[in-house]
Symmetry: C2
Subunit: 503 residues, 2 copies
């Protein structure tokens, strides 16, 4: 029996990173191979193969009988055009699923098991439900420190790795959870102005209204490939690019996508995610900022100590010097929450604007100072002053603009079309600011996908306000999103509480 | 600004139970509401609303700009036709996700938390990744006995519940893992012939080559709705139908689908799945068969004891008398593995065929006897003989055919088009039969989707064979599947081992 070859049809459907293949239920091959909906199957075009989840198509409205539909990511991974010949087959069962199963049942993973899982994740061979199971099984006590080390190493090895001529390569990371804490662009500018090499890759938001990459993107292109990133660093000594596009930790990208859908951000995954990217970027010295506060991601000293120890231990075991700074996580930093609003704060600090948020400035100087000390640019205890001098003289601003230009061109942050001011309903003191509610509000308003959406908060804890004082303003790019945020605000009291005394 | 109404287009895409909605990226509403790929959103048509996962469509090949595409399950839940007007909005955050999160972090769930999760699952409000996270978090020690009771109660309450005039309603369940152990149709026929009421609902395969519903379906229709099921029982006192179509445990159906994709089958979920359906069916007395063997689902006495205790305890707390029978799980039961091949064995036993598998007959008689004793039809110790008499006289066969006719008509099992015999390569004794490898072989050959696919195994443990003795035969409905099974067989030694002495 002669079977006509199956041909690709790109359906233009965005299924994120999970490749989906669409086949007619009456396609001869579907019959003869016994495929059915949600099967996993192998697609091969010339020399490229991928594993995709099958959706069976029961009518002829979107596919002809000899056509195989592919989602955007499937088409991209296969590097195919419409009409290309494709063959389908049953994939071999993934060896790593045995390891995944043992982890779900609470057993420890060895190096081989961890590597096997991470390799399959990085190659997009896991279905979303399998990623969700792995993430869930690794939450909390799911991974011990040694396993986190194995996960970190496996995630580092599976992606690209950079190497540099300098022996000292610095980097900085913040574990997040504190809205508006956008110190990275300022720190990069300061330490690069002092001659250090800092290949900064940043992530997009996981569960927050903006990641550094989201914020930086409103000021300059961040989706650089590895060669472009290298040339920026050769020219300016530093960069601030999106980690996802330089492929330093492809497994992490897949994990983060599902963590975001689950609204989970586990400790072990966090350590592995942070350190694997620093290692892959070729860093030798890293300062990690851990904001601690009742509504920050790290809520108390116990959790901060546990996380610090794990970051240091795992770093040491992999040859990376990790320096921890615990910072105040009781309230947002700066005024803006959301990509463009945070970018405005960054620019204000860098340009020594008189209205620049002082808290953001001081945090950036502290962390930059620590990096300058760690890297031996100045003596212990003199880093802050050195960083401040570089900022005050305008050298840091100049360096920042140069980096933006090297990345493709500097631009000013966009402004939002819609806004809604929220006023104090009484005289009193600001007794409580809830980071989580503010972050959710900013997200409901559209951040980070809508760049100019978010919140501008003008008051601080303990501040005296009068009735009708502006507490914060909501910004959005659409009426629907603004209303959604307002609905949420009405349903959840306590984003900013004005009372008689500080709680 | 006037916005044209959005209209439904059924795309005919089978995404199983996860509703997917497809929207053009340039659709005005998509812009104004800030939706992006993998958002969860609410679709409303007239008075019906569902929550679906969004796939953004970037070209105009499958949708016009004012069209909203829906997958099969989304169309079914919404009860829509092409062209119906649909409105889209952001869904309210699910309250139950807070409980899910606490379970993932190892906290106990209370009744309210469990009910909240199960209600959302039953209403198809969970994305597949959220189902996967819940299943993973509940594996092994993830649920204690009290939580399993809460889960069982919540799963019972969320679906339909049957009630009967008789006080004693019997039922039977096998926890599975033993290929070919298809006693249910035989037991139902025997106890119904003795005048007992047995509203048997069966499941389709989770990780095995056939469930009782898959097997029974080759003999009679099993996808009956609740009214049809009731009328069969009014007429014949018993039925053997697929539980999924009578909606006795809608949450279980969603969980089983993802458990299957993950190849997981956890203890707590198993207990809740089994007992919730018995409770919903209105049963008062249940006999549960637990096959124990090194390659069965329950591998040792410890696990059997733990599972028995949990089934009894949870049953008692919910007013259900649970009687456990531990049986030999060291080798397959009967000759057939796969829907049609197992159905042949069932018919052979019921019709007292001289070639009927004796092990299947004896197991069915033992369990039927236990039910007859438990229900007070005969004295303790006399159940087996009573069951045997009913089988021998042909009353059970007559009752079985009557039940099949009442369900829509009896038919004979289909035969497979392709087969491949496997012979002994030496003289010796059958020293090992691996249930897991045999089950996988049958699945790779196409079972249970391909009804006549599977394995017919003719030898038993300890049996003396000669070189070239037929050990088993592989059956399939397609060349592709047969080859896939053969590939797997070559790669994994030890489905049936012929050696010098029994291990």
């Amino acid at each position: 029996m002669e079977i006509n070859p199956l041909r690709i049809k790109k359906l233009g459907i965005d299924t994120h990173q999970q490749p989906i293949v669409y086949i007619r239920s009456d396609c001869p091959l579907c019959r003869s191979e016994g495929f059915n909906a949600l099967s996993r199957l192998r697609l091969t075009c010339e020399n490229t193969s991928i594993i995709a989840t099958l959706n069976v198509v029961s009518t002829d409205s979107i596919l002809k009988v000899n056509q195989v539909g592919v989602s955007n990511i499937a088409a991209e991974l296969l590097e195919v055009c419409n009409g290309d010949v494709v063959t389908l087959s049953h994939p071999k069962p993934l060896q790593s699923l045995g390891y995944l199963r043992s982890k779900i049942y609470g057993q420890r993973l060895n190096a081989q098991g961890m590597k096997s899982i991470v390799d399959d994740i990085a190659a997009d061979r896991y279905a979303d439900v399998q990623l969700a199971a792995f993430i869930t099984a690794c939450v909390d006590k799911g991974l011990d420190t040694e396993e986190v080390g194995l996960l970190t190493r496996a995630m580092t090895e599976v992606g690209e790795r950079l190497s540099w001529e300098d022996k000292i390569i610095v980097d900085k990371h913040c574990v997040g959870g504190l809205p508006g804490n956008r110190t990275s662009p300022i720190i990069v500018a300061i330490v690069a102005a002092c001659g250090l090499t800092m290949p900064k890759t940043s992530s997009r938001a996981i569960t927050s209204p903006a990641g550094t990459a989201d914020c930086m993107e409103v000021l300059a292109p961040v989706s650089l490939d590895l060669d472009q990133m290298k040339s920026v660093i050769e020219k300016e000594g530093a960069c601030i690019v999106w980690g996802g596009s330089v492929n330093l930790s492809p497994a992490d990208d897949a994990l983060i996508r599902v963590e975001r859908a689950l609204d989970l951000d586990s400790e072990g995954q966090l350590v592995a995610s942070v350190l694997s990217k620093k290692l892959a970027a070729g860093s030798s010295h890293v300062v990690i900022d851990i904001p601690v506060g009742p509504t920050a991601k790290v809520r108390d000293q116990d959790m901060a100590d546990r996380l610090s120890a794990q970051l240091r231990d795992v770093g040491r075991s992999l040859g990376l010097q990790v320096d921890i700074v615990l910072s105040d996580g009781s309230q947002p930093v700066g005024y803006g929450i959301g990509p463009a609003l945070e970018a405005e704060d960054v620019l204000a600090v860098l340009s020594n604007d008189s209205g620049a948020p002082l808290d953001l400035r001081m945090r950036a100087l502290q962390l930059a100072g620590r990096l300058l000390e760690t890297a031996g640019v100045c003596e212990l205890g003199k880093g802050y002053a050195k960083a401040e001098a570089v900022l005050n003289t305008g050298l840091a601003y100049k360096k920042f603009i140069a980096i933006c230009e090297a990345q493709g061109g500097f631009s000013l942050p966009p402004a939002a079309e819609y806004s809604h001011p929220v006023f104090a309903e009484r005289d009193g003191l600001v007794t409580h600011i809830d980071n989580r509610i503010l972050a959710r509000l900013a997200k409901f308003a559209g951040a980070p996908a809508a760049k100019s959406a978010g919140i501008k908060i003008l008051v601080h804890l303990g501040e005296k306000v009068e009735k009708e004082t502006l507490l914060f303003t909501l910004y959005s790019e659409s009426v629907g999103e603004l209303n959604y945020a307002l609905d949420y605000m009405r349903a959840s009291e306590g984003a900013v509480v004005v009372g008689n005394e500080r709680v």
